[in-house]
């Protein structure tokens, strides 16, 4: 199996000012992430808002350069790739199909634009390929004359997917692709993404806060907390035997549609993570009910427990 995406110790910070007179503070949005993803795989990245998952996605897309570290797409360095090559390899699908489509362009032009940007293609070919891709994602080619405002949320997300796939990329970065959609539509889009991956041999990085959705689609899952992967494992293993206390808390907080089960006490306390102020030692220790002295002073960076990355000193101990 070849490696589709390889990320090596990538970092990215931003500076923030809380007010006109406040001092600048530095936010470490992504703080040393490494992984490699085989082609045809789906890496699900889950975490709370502000954990850095979207920043990581934008870096893999080449929309934001990392401050440090390296990203390889199919063995080539992303930093040294020109925009056209990059666009042929890797494409995004974003959360909100209401803001990611230009309201003044017709659907045909929206989907054809990536082709036009590559150059050396006639208008007729462009339209043919756009029409073919729209049919592929379950829309009729007649939709090409319409504007985004005339479509429903689900149709718009299909258009966004068609636009991402029209160049036949190898990798698609899906950043919360179903979060803005109703459940019945969400299921349609998830099914479509799964089908396209199988038929076209795509690799996905699937960013979401919804664990149930990630469990359904991902082959590998990474749990992100304050800019780092705190646990990363094959999907089955992670959902059946979560090792990091944060992963366990996240799983416990998923409310499945099963009546009669009480709402869980997630036990994370009232301290909220602040990426401008990452705690010393283990970054999760202020919210961890199992924290020991060692967790407060020494960070379990890159800690491996058994067969997987689990950044927790006590992950090897049997679950209690």
């Amino acid at each position: 199996m070849s490696i589709a995406v390889e990320v090596r110790d990538v970092r990215r910070s931003f500076t923030r000012r809380d007010g006109i007179f406040a001092a600048r503070s530095s936010i470490r949005a992504v703080d040393g992430v490494s992984f490699s993803l085989e082609s045809g795989g789906v890496l699900g990245i889950v975490g709370e808002s502000g954990c850095g998952k979207s920043t990581l996605g934008r870096m893999i897309l080449g929309l934001q350069p990392p401050d440090a570290g390296e990203i390889l797409i199919e063995g080539q360095s992303l930093a040294s790739m020109d925009r056209r090559t990059r666009a042929r390899l890797i494409q995004p699908v974003f959360q909100d199909p209401f803001s990611s489509l230009n309201p003044r362009q017709r659907i045909g032009d929206i989907v054809g634009l990536p082709l036009a940007a590559q150059g050396a293609i006639s208008g007729a070919q462009q339209r043919d390929q756009a029409a073919e891709m729209l049919t592929r994602v379950g829309l009729s080619a007649a939709i090409m004359e319409r504007f985004p405002a005339q479509l429903s949320g689900g149709q718009r997300q299909r258009v966004a997917i068609a636009r991402a796939l029209v160049l036949r990329p190898r990798i698609v970065i899906c950043d919360e692709p179903t979060s803005a959609l109703d459940v019945s539509v969400q299921a349609q889009i998830l099914n479509l993404l799964a089908e396209l991956r199988r038929d076209l041999g795509l690799t996905y990085v699937f960013i979401s806060h919804n664990l149930a959705v990630v469990e359904h689609i991902a082959t590998e899952v990474a749990v992100m907390y304050l800019g780092r992967f705190v646990e990363c494992a094959p999907s089955e293993a992670l959902f059946h035997d979560p090792r990091h206390p944060y992963t366990r808390a996240l799983l416990a907080s998923v409310l499945t549609a099963e009546p009669g089960i009480p709402i869980p006490d997630v036990g994370l306390g009232d301290t909220y993570p602040d990426p401008a102020n990452i705690p010393n030692g283990c970054r999760f220790h202020p919210r961890c009910r199992f924290a020991q002295d060692r967790c407060r002073s020494e960070a379990p960076l890159g800690h491996i427990a058994g067969d997987r990355l689990v950044e927790c000193w006590y992950a090897d101990n049997d679950s209690s």
């Binding site: 709370e48 808002s49 429903s152 689900g154 109703d182 459940v183 019945s184 539509v185 969400q186 299921a187 349609q188 998830l190 099914n191 799964a194 089908e195 806060h209 919804n210 664990l211 149930a212 959705v213 469990e215 359904h216 999907s235 959902f239 059946h240 808390a249 996240l250 799983l251 416990a252 907080s253 998923v254 409310l255 499945t256 549609a257 099963e258 009546p259 009669g260 089960i261 009480p262 709402i263 869980p264 006490d265 997630v266 994370l268 009232d270 909220y272």
Partner: protein
Amino acid sequence: MKPVLEIENLRVGFPDGTAAVRGVSLRVGRGETHCLVGESGCGKSVTALAAMNLLPRGATRSADVMRFHDEDLTRLSERQTSRLRGARMAMIFQEPMTSLNPAYTIGSQMTEVFQRHRHATRAQGMDRAAELLERVGITAPGMRLAQYPHQLSGGLRQRTMIAMALMCDPELLIADEPTTALDVTVQAQILRLLQTLQRELGLAVLLITHDLGIVARMAQRVSVMYAGQVVESGSAADLFGAPTHPYTRGLLACIPIPGKTPRDQPLGSIPGSVPKTGAEFAGCAFRDRCTYATADCAGTIPHRTVATDHRTLCTMVPA
């Protein structure tokens, strides 16, 4: 037992001709959580706003019965409703950042309701606010009262909204998507809090959500809304255990349950989209998306009783 809120055949129309709510009936009893569930645009929020008399200008509202305890809400003047609203009937919204005023401190916003409805002094209001902030699990309430909304995290803001809604000891709490803007871990905390408060204060809660996971864990009674109608209603056990309406069944098949839904198979999904429903719309609004639809579905659809307190709006269920 007499319900706290009782609505019979509520209809709401908008000036553009859409009939947002088309004959909704529901009851919420004391100490009961009634979940109103449905997808965007189904009329669940409009139903709540109609009960609070907070519909946008130009909207029309009619109902056979709309009663809060003994008060006939259809006959009250705006002035009389405003006396109930915020005092005996309270409401919390989805996005606490937009429903709190950014220019005033938490303390002054919380006391305003109390001073207005209870004719209390500011100091009394502050005492009550501090007591309630503590009640909803906010530490150092004294400090929080002096802070502005932007200084609080999303979870704290939603706790503050809940505390504010409780200032005047309401009997009915309408919560419109109270945790949709929050992270899952915080969502669980807020829902636990709502549940505890409801039990201890005997609140009647009308909880509006699109999330069937929340419904399963919170509701005693559930009404499923589609295109302005309640298509199925019953106890949570009935709705999840023996759903009868094809829409309810379709919704339940759409959501993956970790560890239970087979991973290599497609999820259930509902094809098509919701039709536009004007005032003259007749028949079952779901028929174009329903695999069981017959010619009968274009006619008038009677409410059918499946079991005690379990009603459905579908021709498939025998009368």
